[in-house]
């Protein structure tokens, strides 16, 4: 069973009640009641997810059971060949990548991996990339560019890692160069914000020809907690900050920052990962096809013009 979020409590109570009934059951005469309660729980879940607040979406986007890089790759990418290392310092496990096929198309897939239990979360540093991770991404993008392989990025990070060594090795420079590399590719790059798009650590992989975003994903310049602790002077105002910063896919689409919203199954991608992952795969495939055959200069020009036009009057 998926872990329940605070705002799902009414749904949780119904589910508990159903479980209780089932346990005491055996008798068939309570079946209609179970069915009624189940329908009610479904409706409640549907209604809850139809009007999630930005802060609630943040919880969904961070849900521990939400699909991660390895799940997307496992289901969508055939014959995946992981590639590793920045050739200078090490191999960052927070940013993974490799060659593969998406519905028959050659792609270079690069993305953040958060991990999904204590051991893997530590190994992947909770999806917080270090300079060597961004430099690996740059390397893989260059490789893809030279061999005419489109790039697909999966963005899911609370942000780049804030640490002493990361700063010493040039975290800011690595992010800046990774963003720059996205923008100079002659091959198409399609980015999908699948969970959290946290600040520079996210945009470094998302300066793309097309930026897709899951229905309940969030993408922001700073975490709601971070913004709240600076502007409201308490992290407890995170919900207000989430609201004010416009971090939802729906807001970003309106602002022209993303190109397409990918619908999630009722109750979020974590409730029916397989369906969510397929929907993402189909949307990425369609985006890649729409950019196919444009030619290197046009690809680059489209990307530049799109970003230059952003936020204009």
């Amino acid at each position: 069973m998926v872990a329940l979020l605070e705002f799902e409590k009414p749904v949780a109570e119904l589910l508990a009640r159903i479980a209780e009934l089932r346990e005491s059951a055996g008798a068939t005469d309570i079946d209609p009641e179970i069915a009624k309660l189940e329908a009610k729980a479904d409706r409640l879940l549907h209604d809850t997810y139809a009007k999630l607040s930005p802060w609630q979406k943040t919880q969904v986007a961070r849900h521990p059971d939400r699909p991660h890089f390895k799940h997307y790759v496992g289901q969508l990418i055939d014959d995946f060949m992981p590639l590793a290392g920045d050739r200078a310092f090490g191999d960052d496990q927070a940013i993974l990548g490799g060659l593969g096929r998406l519905g028959g198309r050659r792609v270079m897939v690069i993305g953040h991996e958060k991990g999904d239990d204590t051991a893997t979360r530590i190994r992947h540093n909770f999806g917080m990339g270090k300079p060597e991770g961004y430099r690996k991404a740059i390397r893989l993008m260059e490789l893809a560019d030279r061999f005419n392989v489109p790039v697909v990025t999966l963005v899911d990070t609370s942000g780049a890692f804030p640490g002493v060594q990361a700063e010493e090795r040039g975290q800011a420079e690595a992010i800046a160069r990774s963003t720059e590399k996205c923008l100079e590719l002659g091959v198409p790059i399609v980015a999908a914000v699948v969970g959290e798009g946290g600040s520079g650590g996210a945009v470094a992989l998302a300066a793309a020809n097309r930026v897709l975003m899951f229905e309940h994903a969030v993408y922001s310049v700073i975490s709601p907690e971070g913004c709240a602790s600076i502007l409201w002077r308490t992290a407890e105002k995170a919900a207000d900050a989430a609201e004010a910063m416009r971090i939802t896919a729906q807001d970003l689409k309106r602002l022209g920052v993303i190109d397409e919203i990918i619908a999630e199954p009722v109750g979020g991608a974590h409730r029916s990962p397989a369906i969510a992952i397929d929907a993402l795969g189909a949307a990425i495939g369609k985006s890649l096809d729409s950019l196919n055959g444009l030619g290197r200069d046009k690809i680059k020009q489209q990307r530049r013009e799109k970003f230059l036009a952003m936020g204009g009057l």
Binding site: P162, V164, A176, G200, V221, M245, R304, L313
Partner: protein, 284 residues
């Protein structure tokens, strides 16, 4: 007349402060009280300990350009308060207060002029304007500066100073990272130098975009330069930060800068560098 005395003669702000009775400046580094006239004549560098004080665009232009040889570029107009943001105060009120306090429209100003006879466009970020923070206005001004340099076929020099992104513009402030990067790529393709001078402080999204993409990177002494804030890092690692961490000299030691340059030497250093990168202009 050397350039320092030319700068001395062009300091209209001194008289204004004197009439306000504010004659002394307390150095934030060594706490010495220094006569403000003396301090500003020394380019706002402490005459006792050498601390480089924060200066705004106008003072910077005055110090960097040849005498009478520069003019301000218009500040691009952008959508005001695109998110209708409010925290404890409305964002529009914060902007208004910053405009009143600084007399400027936003946190990045450009000017076109000459440095030892060589044409340049110079952009200066103003920490006094909402911490120099990068929003659409700053991004747009950066792009305008770079494009003016493109039009003039001259180098673009940026003096960075920012606490980070303009949170009140949310994702649109984040988008200034790729947007400014496109402008830099256009300079590069045109074969024009893009030179960064980092001043105190340069942090967050500004560092992780145009501040770190210079053909040559300089910083003023002791300038705070980094991606993550020190408090955030300390909360993450739970140990003491190393001596001099995220200071200009520390970045130089770690290979992130070409040089740390004292303010008094900046103008000449920039002139020499441009002479190397654009020799045909230097001869003109």
């Amino acid at each position: 007349m050397n350039w320092l005395s030319r700068v001395r003669n062009a300091m209209p702000f001194i008289a204004k402060r004197e009439t306000e009775g504010n004659l002394w400046n307390k150095c934030p580094s060594c706490s010495q009280m220094i006569f403000i006239k003396e301090y500003e004549e020394n380019l706002s560098v402490c005459t006792v300990c050498g601390h480089h004080g924060r200066i705004g665009p106008k003072a910077r232009f005055q110090q960097i350009f040849d005498d009478n040889g520069w003019s301000m570029l218009p500040t691009p107009r952008v959508a005001e308060d695109p998110l209708k943001f409010r925290d404890s105060k409305k964002y529009v009120d914060r902007i208004k207060a910053a405009r009143t306090a600084t007399g400027e429209h936003d946190a990045l100003l450009n000017a076109r002029g000459k440095i030892e006879g060589q044409g340049v466009v110079v952009g200066v970020q103003d920490f006094a304007f909402m911490g120099g923070s990068m929003g659409v206005g700053v991004g747009e001004a950066f792009i305008a500066g770079a494009q003016a340099a493109l039009a003039d076929k001259v180098p673009y020099i940026i003096f960075t100073a920012a606490g980070g992104a303009r949170m009140q513009e949310g994702i649109l402030s984040l988008m200034q990272m790729p947007r400014t990067t496109v402008a830099i790529a256009q300079l590069r393709e045109a074969g024009l130098p893009y030179i960064v001078v980092m001043t105190d402080p340069t942090t967050g999204g500004v560092t992780a975009s145009y501040a770190m993409l210079g053909d040559v990177q300089m910083a003023e002494p002791n300038a705070l330069i980094g991606f993550a804030g020190q408090r955030v890092i300390q909360d993450t690692i739970r140990e003491k930060l190393p001596e001099g961490f995220q200071r200009a000299e520390y970045l130089l030691d770690h290979g992130m800068l070409d040089m740390v340059v004292e303010r008094k030497d900046l103008r000449q250093t920039l002139a020499r560098l441009i002479g190397y990168l654009m020799p045909e202009k230097a001869a003109a």
